[in-house]
Symmetry: C2
Subunit: 401 residues, 2 copies
């Protein structure tokens, strides 16, 4: 008689995963990137060069160095933030993480307990919403426009929460290439956000995962830089979007009280050394050139996606062209619930993120959807969006072009 | 005025980490491995070969495949378990993890909530003890001898816990190259353990991280194999000890109800793909030969460590020669507390694991210590153990040779 091990699992588990069953022909979800732009030749050369120098150090955890991560990689991150994002950084302020998802997890573990409140943007990264929900944290959404967080609404929220005796533990923002809206927060808004956070004594968690992918290369200073040593901002970034998502290397940049405490929460015996070594070696020589090539390819795909949505949906789709990144945030007319379109779209081989998973307020999110364009070809984008429009027309009765 | 961000951290955090300050000359702690045995040339060749084939797939999370991990690596794990450990395995039963520490974390998340009870071996991996303590889980220690868990004591423990209405959620065991004792559980004991676990309806979590490092190559069948489809055993292993600890790749082997549920708990967007690719390519061709060379080097270091302890401590040190792995578990006379030796040893440049952190019962653990020999040279071992003996003599007044 076989033992029913599932009967001994703890209560309250999320729904189990499904067996992987292959990829769909028209996939507009996930942070996948342009296959032709992955610099695998350069990464391979970097691997050969660095392994000659550092190979034997693989025998020790953390390559025999700091648990904060491989020093040349932290030096690259620091130098790159200084030159690309006007953010002078000391390598000792950098903690390398196993993808920025681990950075998020560490921030949650550092600040949050069940019942805490966090302010997020009204449309935000779905993984953050599910991660916070899994920890029993309440989220409040702050309104966005094309320049990012609206300070007038943030002020109201902060006042409300203070009055209720439930001040937020931090404000989570994706200021540069906001996920999912693709906007870039203006410097004026950044300063206003910092001012309000200071006034209310609330930390800011700045998620800059997509910030290297601004199409026009015009990247504003980070909130962390504008805070100018004020101690208000914990920053994170990633190589997933700029180099390759299958590599799991991200980073936190913060003052020592944060980094030191995170070290005791990061119980994984270090982030994968081979990926750190190869990224350090490759990035020092090639990062800027590679990102310029990549963003040019992504900008073309963004144009293809926006054109396809305009052609297939016409007036029924509202969106702002993304200023960078790999997704566009599309609103359909009132009354449409994009969650109900998922199953019929799958039948046509099309997948996308319905807006509810990327929004705090279902009323705001339900008519929206996130369409990712980093991985599919321009032809696939055009065909897939056409099929998606057919599904929308059939399911909602909307008159589309 | 600078913001005091630490004042907003959650309560109950562990002590923060310290800034890294370099390595000691005589380090006998940590799962580091023999530097000369790291096959970095072979790993580099593997990287070049595999990147030509799989490079563009780095553009998609999980290399565009299953979130369970890179299929050829899962196939290698399955084949290797069959040939090296008499454990027929389907690649679909394998979940690749970011080191076996993530495997441990996933098992904890799957089974445990605050207040649960787990049975562990009376001497066991310190990371497991601290991980369970951080989750508010109570541990009970089962007695060990040279053949592993003592079934007579396990039976008493299981009966006691059943009677108290607090049956354990699982039994955690490191049967092959037990950490820290270096023993290998006999097949008879394995069968007795399974029988008791079945009788009490308790799962077994088999941590086989060091199992590739048995010096005489005589590796018994795993508990998972002996369970023969009974569904009782969740298994984990690692490449950290057999290839290199800086690479963070481990694996869980379990039935689908476990693997599927773990997928929903593994929210890291996949384990690093570069390390998976390189390990799959390298291991398929070279794993067995490499491990034979490595264990031969480690066996020589084990001899060096055991000789050094005998020479420097004489009758004052009791230990059983490890049957594999990278550590020896040494008991000093009653009344010695190895925790008090840490600071004076550090002053001489020597570090080791005091036994309390690797034991359930302080009375059992306090006179013991774990000495790791994988990384230091034989000369360093001899010198460092000599210095440690000087510290012990000076601090305890013991007469040593």
């Amino acid at each position: 008689m076989s033992f029913d091990i599932a009967a001994t699992f703890r209560p309250g588990l999320p729904a189990p995963g499904a067996k992987w069953s292959g990829n769909l022909p028209y996939s507009f979800l996930g942070g996948h990137n342009d296959g032709a732009s992955v610099p695998f030749g350069g990464l391979t050369e970097a691997a050969s060069a660095i392994m000659m120098r550092e190979g034997p150090n693989l025998a020790t955890y953390n390559l025999g160095g700091s648990p904060q991560g491989y020093l040349p990689l932290r030096e690259f991150v620091a130098a790159s933030l200084a030159t690309r994002a006007s953010t002078p950084t000391d390598p000792d302020e950098v903690l390398i993480t196993s993808g920025s998802l681990q950075a998020l997890d560490l921030v949650y573990s550092l600040f949050l307990q069940r019942g805490d409140v966090v302010i997020v943007e009204e449309a935000t990264y779905g993984g953050t919403l599910s991660g916070l929900a899994a920890r029993g944290v309440e989220v409040r959404g702050v309104a966005l426009d094309e320049d990012g967080i609206r300070p007038d609404h943030l002020e109201v929220l902060l006042d409300e929460l203070a009055l209720a005796g439930t001040p937020p533990k931090f404000i989570y923002t994706i200021p540069t290439v906001q996920n999912p809206t693709g906007s870039v927060m203006s410097v004026e808004r950044r300063l206003a956000l910092l001012e309000l956070a200071r006034h209310h004594g609330v930390a800011i968690f700045e998620d800059d995962c997509y910030a290297d992918l601004v199409f026009d290369g015009n990247r504003p200073p980070t909130l962390r830089a504008l805070d100018d040593g004020g101690g208000q901002v914990v920053y994170c970034g990633s190589f997933s979007k700029s180099i390759a998502p299958s590599l799991r290397v991200g980073y936190v940049v913060a003052d020592w009280p944060v980094v030191g405490q995170m070290l005791s929460l990061k119980t994984d015996a270090g982030t994968g050394a081979l990926e750190q070594l190869v990224l350090a070696e490759y990035s020092a020589a090639h990062f800027d050139d590679h990102v310029a090539t990549l963003t040019s390819a992504l900008s073309a795909k963004s144009q293809a996606m926006c054109s396809a949505v305009r052609e297939s949906f016409g007036e029924a789709a509202e969106f702002t062209e993304p200023r960078g990144g790999i997704f566009v945030w599309v609103a359909l007319p009132d009354g449409v619930d994009t969650a109900t379109l998922v199953a019929p779209a799958l039948e046509k081989g099309v997948e996308f993120n319905p807006g509810a998973g990327w929004s705090v307020d279902p009323a705001y999110g339900s008519r929206r959807m996130r369409l990712c364009f980093g991985h599919p070809s321009e032809d696939t984008i055009r065909e897939g969006v056409g099929l998606l429009a057919e599904v929308v027309a059939a399911e909602t009765g909307l008159q589309l072009p």
